[in-house]
């Protein structure tokens, strides 16, 4: 598996993934990679998967095919990082990390059955290819389980979320005896805290007097409304 990044004068135009086949680059729409420019020949060059690697071939173009600045005279195997030049366009050749991951996770190409990957092996494989640390699984949100509020589901996107009767609150809860702001949900160092401000906030059926760290699945009540943190 390889990736080709097409750019013109330093500006990225498109990205392509090349599998185990052949990719034809040229001016006409029949080509796999179409570059609509008069300096590009109708069928300009091809990149084909071979056992030894990806082979770059010039298909008899008028202006020639270049590899790292030099015009190629014979088919050449590409190395990761190579730049293929076609007139003013550039194609950067990259070996995708996916093949690296597959190699490390043990060549899992069986199409027949489902497999489970070893967690440690997978973590090591991702480290090797420089994959970013995974984002936390899904954004946090508040979901109203019972009672009335302005919306049923509120994604927690900001550092402070206000909950109360006032129109200016993020989560507006209906209730005659509720305060303008009954509570806030704040984020600190990756953890979420419910901070009671009014007197109608309950957690675990008890009136909440001081801030409470919330974990996914916890519920709290504001007046008669039950809200889940998920």
């Amino acid at each position: 598996m390889a990736r080709l990044i097409l750019s013109l004068r330093g500006r990225e135009l498109d990205k392509f993934l090349v599998g185990q086949g052949k990719v034809v680059i040229g001016r006409t729409p029949e080509c796999d990679i179409t570059i609509d420019n008069p300096a590009i020949s109708r069928k300009h060059a091809a990149i084909e998967y071979k056992e030894e690697g990806y082979l770059l071939t010039d298909l008899g173009s008028s202006n020639g095919t270049f590899l790292n600045g030099e015009k190629i005279t014979a088919p050449t195997i590409l190395k990761p990082g190579d730049v293929v030049g076609l007139a003013k366009f550039e194609l950067l050749f990259q070996d995708t990390p996916q093949s690296e991951v597959q190699k490390m996770v043990g060549g899992l190409e069986s199409m027949e059955s489902t497999m489970m990957v070893d967690a440690e092996k997978m973590a090591k494989a991702f480290q090797a290819v420089g994959g970013a640390a995974p984002a936390a699984s899904g954004p946090r949100k508040l979901v109203v389980l019972k009672g009335e509020a302005n919306i049923k589901e509120l994604p927690v996107e900001r550092d402070v979320v206000t909950i109360g009767k006032a129109d200016t609150c993020d989560l507006i809860i209906k209730g005659f005896f509720l305060d303008k702001v009954e509570a806030t949900l704040t984020q600190r160092e990756g953890r979420y805290y419910l901070i009671p401000i009014g007197g109608s906030v309950k957690f675990n059926n008890e009136k909440l007097a001081k801030e409470q760290a919330l974990k996914v699945g916890d519920t709290f009540t504001v007046g008669k409304t039950i809200v889940a943190f998920t």
Partner: protein
């Protein structure tokens, strides 16, 4: 609260047995799909064990529409607070232990496991719980949204920026899981709350459906007026079989109305 639901399963065009299992317990607001894996038909055992454990535990709970006579309600003791998230976690842990133990005790069932995807109605919201790559979708206002994030190598690659989502559709291995029930001693399920609007349709399915049918097509089928849920489920399975039917296909549809 009323539930309108349907469940259909089909072995597909390629496999000669069906290792998917499903459970519908409308009186408890619980719907489950499990896709088993393992040699020698052990997948059937694993997915059945998962579904049986959930059924057993759910039947111990009072039904959602339970009505107590007024005099009983006056004098009853405060019931212990029921936390559905804890209940799901404990039940899934039990299912994992049962499958893991059965796998240890049988040579043919060694290493067997199953995915799990379920919805559990609570008050005015719905909880999803899942392990693996079986999915829960919600169809609302002509849009289909995936409520669960797959525990698969493909999804992991997208999350870590190794592949984009479009690339992953055709470049990533499509059957490698990062989590499953019964394969290790511990299991880490994801449990999430979601809001419910009237007319929402929840779709639970194994990968045999979404790997063979485009999500746009699934949304189209769900949006067809005049069709019962059963007819919609049937059309989805048809579409999956026409697309190749390379795996077992299970579809559960549920709609909650007041």
């Amino acid at each position: 609260m009323k539930v309108n639901y349907t469940a259909l399963t089909d072995p597909g065009q390629v496999r000669d047995n069906n290792e998917d299992s499903y459970l519908t317990l409308p009186e408890h607001g619980l719907f489950v799909v499990a896709d088993g894996m393992g040699g020698h038909k052990a997948g059937e055992v694993a997915s059945a064990l998962a579904v049986e454990t959930l059924a057993e535990e759910a039947r111990k709970l009072p039904p959602l529409n339970a009505k107590m006579p007024w005099w009983k309600r006056l004098f009853r003791r405060q019931p212990p607070p029921f936390n559905p998230v804890d209940w799901l976690h404990q039940t899934i842990t039990r299912a994992n232990a049962r499958i893991f133990e059965a796998a240890q005790n049988s040579r043919e069932q060694k290493g067997m496991g199953t995915t799990l995807a379920l919805i559990f109605k609570r008050e005015t919201a719905v909880l999803t719980a899942h392990v693996g790559d079986s999915r829960v979708y919600r169809y609302r206002n002509q849009e289909l949204s995936q409520l669960t994030q797959d525990h698969s190598l493909a999804e992991e690659m997208v999350r870590r920026g190794v592949l984009t989502r479009e690339e992953a559709l055709y470049a990533a291995p499509s059957n490698v899981l990062t989590r499953a029930l019964g394969v290790r001693e511990e299991v880490a399920e994801d449990i999430i709350y979601h809001s419910v609007e009237p007319d929402d349709i929840f779709l639970l399915c194994s990968d045999g459906l979404y790997n063979m049918v485009d999500e746009k097509e699934l949304a189209r089928v769900l949006g067809r007026t005049g069709l019962s849920l059963k007819e919609k489920a049937f059309q989805m399975i048809e579409a999956a079989n026409q697309g190749g039917g390379k795996d077992n296909i299970t579809v559960v549809l549920a709609q909650f109305t007041n």
